[in-house]
């Protein structure tokens, strides 16, 4: 694809978010906003203990409260057919037994739902929920990772194999080495939109739901497994998502509860979580302790890296993520060993949170790289260049594309890296200490399977349909950009329908795959459209047909503004309208599945983040002055939304680096800052000028557009860039996130 197309001002300004207007004017409808007649409202009651059994439940006063239509508990819950079959097969990212809501009296974590109160209004359900009283048989809970490290175990599902190349202890004999431990606490996704669902039974075996999910197909699958319905009888809708950051990557028990509740009372039911329940019931980035051992020769060539991550999971399921994977391929290093361990604790199961394990792993790896660079008295960029992996050292094969060196160059220039001093505490601004830091990021460039249906109308309008949805990155905008270029159509001629299982199947929105997966499907369906148009244009009577030319090919044609012309002679032109009329067609309709092929290359996106900040030593305050994020993400298809993705990622990790921390009082086994006043995420005043730079070079192998994923690399590597800049400013190495003032103040 012609990269310049997207930047060519004459041809087309960078396209703006196509659903932007709908979103800011309130026209975009989110799960809980759908107008469903005859709606009842549910509210979940949570357990006040973190482990044990429910001895007894008193629901009488709740049932008698005004407007209450029913109270569901494990005592009276309808039998969910899928729950009776016992163990679910292990489905990544988890192994074990997913929580079966209202199945029995067992409590695995604080705020685990023990009852669903249903009433005719939300407020009445909320009020009655407070009347449900439970007696418990308490057991000793475990909620602290550090004191439970002795229980760390090898995962039984994904990531059960340790990784090794060369000698696992290789780093120990290196001339210069470091051994350090890095920690970050639980972080919660907390998107603006609360977890919410409307469930409506359209018949005894027919169901429609509107829910907050990052994949309507996978939600349908989970519902199918639980309720044993046939898939074509389940419709899942989720066109717009008010952010999710990964929390919508699985079906949560509250969604099953709502479907159960709607069935029990015979009415459609809306269930929206309370903000506090967003901290306790829908996953989080797990608390993780990481150990790194890293050694290099005196002239800065890596000899070995050892990386171990121990993360928490729930007491009933195993969740694992790619925390240590980044160490396996990031640098050219002969001896590398990684391990992943799990400690079950009394919390809900974690789930991928933006930049998932890689962001966690990069915090340790890129902090350690910085520490070793200082030990070697080397510029951290120079140290990375000396260990640049020219091929993928993990799989020993070439990269499909890698432009990390250009990222280093562009970013260093933009942030003013030449002003950085190797010696910490060298730069001052009044009483403030100034520091520069950097961190590298990477994430697999994945392409999955998608089917897109295209309907081209005679007036040149194009409708594209796919079940994929958009949690915010701008999927519809990307699809519009790809189709607009392929068909030579103005973006406003293109309509996207998405986010419903009624549409052709698309992927989940996760792992930065969607542009590659769905963009390719749009590309392919447009290619097919063009071939069919070429075939029509080759028919007898077509102006393109001459004595010499019996057949025109799509490549010979120029598509623009609903018409098609010969490349060689653009004055020979015919509108789609004419073409269809001549052929007695109402339009063209094509459905096409598209998927990538196994390639002998390693496919990754890369990023590089630079941070300049100030630290006030007496009070420990950190002020970030400038962030520069550079991405090698192949062809940039929609520059505006791509830049927004990068900015959003940087903002997210400024939270990870400086403030996010779900504090648990281990005496009670429950979080105590489960609200947005006490759980801090960045505010505008924390966010500096963020510059985003793209290499914007086509990857020859990932997909027909040459794009690679972007959403995750926006985060991966930012947290260590902040920590490294703090060290450069102060000489203090903070290995425990978040970096709050108390960790930095000096006398």
């Amino acid at each position: 694809m012609d990269k310049d197309f997207f930047f060519d001002k004459k041809k087309n300004d960078p396209i703006s978010r196509v659903d932007g207007r709908a979103k800011v004017t309130g026209k975009a409808t989110y799960a809980a906003e759908h107008k469903v007649p005859n709606l009842a409202y549910g509210f979940l009651v949570g357990s006040t203990i973190a482990k044990g059994r429910i001895k007894s439940l008193d629901t009488k006063s709740a049932e008698r409260a005004p407007g209450v239509l029913g109270v569901i508990t494990h005592v009276n819950a309808p039998k969910i057919p899928g729950y009776q079959t016992g163990k679910d097969p292990a489905k990544p990212p988890t192994a074990g037994q997913p929580l079966r809501i209202f199945y029995d009296n067992q409590i695995f974590y604080y705020d685990q739902p023990i009852a669903l109160v249903i009433a005719d209004t939300y407020d009445r359900a909320l009020f009655a929920a407070k009347l449900v009283k439970a007696q418990y048989e308490k057991e000793v809970h475990q909620t602290e990772l550090e004191t439970n490290l002795s229980k760390a175990r090898i995962p039984t599902g994904p990531r059960k194999e340790d990784y090794k190349r060369g000698d696992a202890d290789g780093y120990k004999n290196a001339a210069v080495k470091i051994e350090q431990e890095y920690y970050h606490p639980v972080e919660v996704h907390n998107p603006m939109e609360l977890g919410s669902i409307i469930a409506r039974w359209d018949g005894p075996d027919k169901l429609t739901v509107y829910t907050k999910t990052q994949g309507v197909e996978s939600t349908r699958n989970s519902i199918k497994d639980a309720f044993k319905l046939s898939p074509e009888n389940i419709t899942v809708n989720a066109e717009h998502i008010g952010g999710a950051f990964g929390m919508g990557l699985r079906t949560w028990p509250y969604e099953i509860a709502a479907i159960m509740g709607a069935q029990k009372i015979g009415k459609p039911l809306k269930l929206a979580l309370h903000r506090e329940q967003m901290f306790t019931n829908v996953g989080y980035r797990p608390e993780t302790i990481q150990k790194i051992g890293m050694g290099a020769t005196a002239d800065g060539k890596l000899v070995g890296i050892f990386h171990e991550a121990t993360a928490n999971t729930s007491a009933y399921e195993e969740f694992t993520e790619a925390t240590v994977n980044i160490t396996q391929f990031m640098y050219a290093c002969p001896n590398v060993a990684t391990r992943y361990r799990l400690v079950p604790l009394n919390f809900v199961t974690p789930i991928w949170m933006r930049g998932p394990g890689e962001a966690t792993g990069a915090f340790a790896l890129e902090s350690a790289m910085d520490e070793l660079a200082y030990a070697l008295k080397l510029d951290p960029i120079e140290f990375r260049l000396r260990n640049h992996a020219d091929i993928d050292p993990e799989h020993n094969r070439p990269w499909s594309s890698k432009h990390l060196k250009e990222c280093y160059e562009m970013g260093a220039e933009k942030i003013g890296w030449k002003d950085r001093q190797l010696e910490p505490r060298s730069l001052k601004d009044g009483d403030w200490l100034v520091g520069y830091g950097m961190g590298t990021g990477s994430f697999g460039a994945m392409r999955w399977v998608a089917t897109v249906k295209a309907k081209l109308q005679p007036d040149g309008k194009l409708l594209l349909q796919c079940s994929v949805n958009d949690m915010g990155p701008g999927t519809a905008t990307m699809m519009t950009a790809v189709a607009s270029e392929a068909m030579g159509l103005a973006p406003d001629k293109i309509t996207i329908q998405m986010g419903s299982t009624k549409l052709p199947p698309g992927p989940m929105q996760g792992g930065s795959n969607v542009t590659s997966t769905v963009g390719s499907a749009v590309h392919d369906v447009c290619a097919e459209l063009k071939m069919q148009i070429a075939a029509l244009a080759s028919k007898e009577g077509s102006p393109f047909r001459t004595r010499k030319v019996k057949e025109v090919k799509a490549e010979d044609l120029v598509f623009s503004d609903g018409s098609v012309a010969l490349k060689k002679n653009e004055s020979t032109k015919i509108s789609f309208q004419d073409l269809f009329r001549r052929n007695n067609l109402q339009g063209l309709e094509i459905t096409k599945e598209s998927k990538g092929q196994e390639q002998p290359y390693s496919m990754y996106s890369f990023s590089m983040h630079f941070v300049k900040l100030r630290v006030h030593p007496a009070t420990g305050r950190v002020k970030i002055d400038h962030v520069v994020s550079c991405a090698d993400a192949g062809t940039i298809i929609s520059p505006k939304t791509a830049a927004s993705q990068m900015i959003g990622g940087a903002v997210g990790v400024i939270g990870m680096a400086l403030m996010e921390d779900l504090v648990v009082d281990h005496r009670f086994g429950r979080p105590i800052n489960n609200n947005l006043a006490d759980y801090h995420v960045p505010v505008n005043a924390d966010i500096p000028n963020i510059d985003v730079l793209f290499v914007n070079k086509k990857d020859p192998f990932t997909n027909p557009m040459g794009s690679k994923g972007l959403g995750e690399i926006a985060l991966v590597g930012v947290a260590p860039a902040v920590a490294n800049a703090v060290f450069n400013a102060t000489g203090k190495r903070i290995r425990t996130l978040p970096i709050t003032p108390d960790k930095l103040m000096e006398t």
Partner: protein
């Protein structure tokens, strides 16, 4: 739904009568604190008496005092010309609190009456002597990073969360009150109280006593003032430690000084000893540091908040440094 009554009153007498006779009635001003506490079940009034129609919004000069009505909004006070020119420390402290949206609703009286942000106070199924006397203090051996280092008791180590009040205590404000027994004036340092063995009482107001205004006497603190708030993010977070510093500086000499500290005690903390020490001295970092050491004499940490033992004196020194920078 938890039903409650709602009445709007327009005279002091009606406001006082409604509350005096009915122990389940409570005044509501901006509602930014009260409504949150009601949602959490911490406070459960059966009747809300809306006092916003009372004529208590004035900000004006009265002789050698600045009069600020109890229903003046936090944003109005912060932006008021008289306040900004004559009592800039108050303006700075208000700007450092909450968010613009909340300041647009919050009133001066409500701000003084706002309750602690201690998480154990907010969670009705955790122990808290302030919310439910006799249940114990959850914070004492729990997560106490935000908690007090001065004037604590074994019953409560919560802090008073207001920024505005730190400036008001430094500026020797007086609280004007009217109630069933008539009018009275309470010096600001006597308004809030220490927890002792009755942490459920935040202040010395009696039932039915309505704050009508605060008064700040004229002072020489227009030029060398600074409110420094150290917090976990740049805005919209409560203070770890804050300092309100007002200095009357002549050349390098400190003629007089007023100091308040926030985030460290159950009430706005006035630093009288440090003030006395600094009076007449030369404004240098070393002198500020000595004053800060005096302040810390009786400080006590509870674990997570031990860092305040260092942050508090540092913040004081920094606030004084900034306040005494010559224009």
């Amino acid at each position: 739904m938890i039903n409650f009554g709602y009445t709007r009153v327009s005279t002091h007498k009606a406001a006082i009568d409604a509350v005096r006779k009915d122990s389940a009635a409570q005044w509501i001003a901006g509602g930014t604190n009260l409504v949150d506490l009601m949602k959490k079940g911490v406070t459960t009034p059966e009747k809300l008496i809306d006092i916003n129609n009372l004529p208590l919004k004035d900000i004006r000069k009265e002789g050698n005092k600045l009069y600020i009505g109890a229903l003046a909004l936090n944003s109005e006070v912060a932006e008021n010309e008289l306040v900004r020119t004559q009592q800039p420390l108050l303006s700075q402290a208000l700007q450092a609190g909450a968010s613009q949206q909340i300041r647009n609703m919050a009133t001066v009286g409500g701000n003084m009456m706002q309750r602690t942000r201690c998480p154990y106070f907010y969670n009705t199924d955790m122990p808290c002597n302030k919310r439910e006397p006799g249940t114990g203090c959850g914070a004492l051996k729990g997560f106490n990073r935000m908690h007090a280092i001065f004037g604590t008791s074994e019953n409560c180590i919560a802090v008073h969360p207001s920024d505005m009040c730190i400036a008001l205590i430094a500026l020797d404000a007086t609280v004007l009150v009217t109630g069933p027994k008539g009018d009275c004036r309470i010096p600001f340092q006597n308004f809030h109280r220490l927890p002792g063995d009755a942490p459920h009482k935040d202040n010395t107001l009696e039932r039915g006593e309505l704050i009508t205004a605060i008064e700040i006497p004229d002072n020489p603190y227009q030029k060398h003032v600074h409110y420094l708030k150290v917090r976990d993010r740049s805005s919209y977070a409560f203070a770890l430690v804050s300092v309100a510093a007002a200095v009357d500086l002549q050349g390098d000499k400190i003629n007089d000084v007023r100091l308040g500290m926030g985030g460290v005690a159950h009430k706005p903390w006035r630093l009288t000893e440090a003030e006395n020490f600094l009076k007449g001295k030369t404004a240098t970092e070393a002198t500020f540091r000595q004053a800060a050491e005096l302040v810390m004499k009786n400080a006590k940490g509870y674990g997570h908040n031990n860092f305040k033992l260092k942050l508090a004196p540092n913040t004081l020194v920094e606030a004084l440094k900034t306040a005494t920078v010559k224009a």
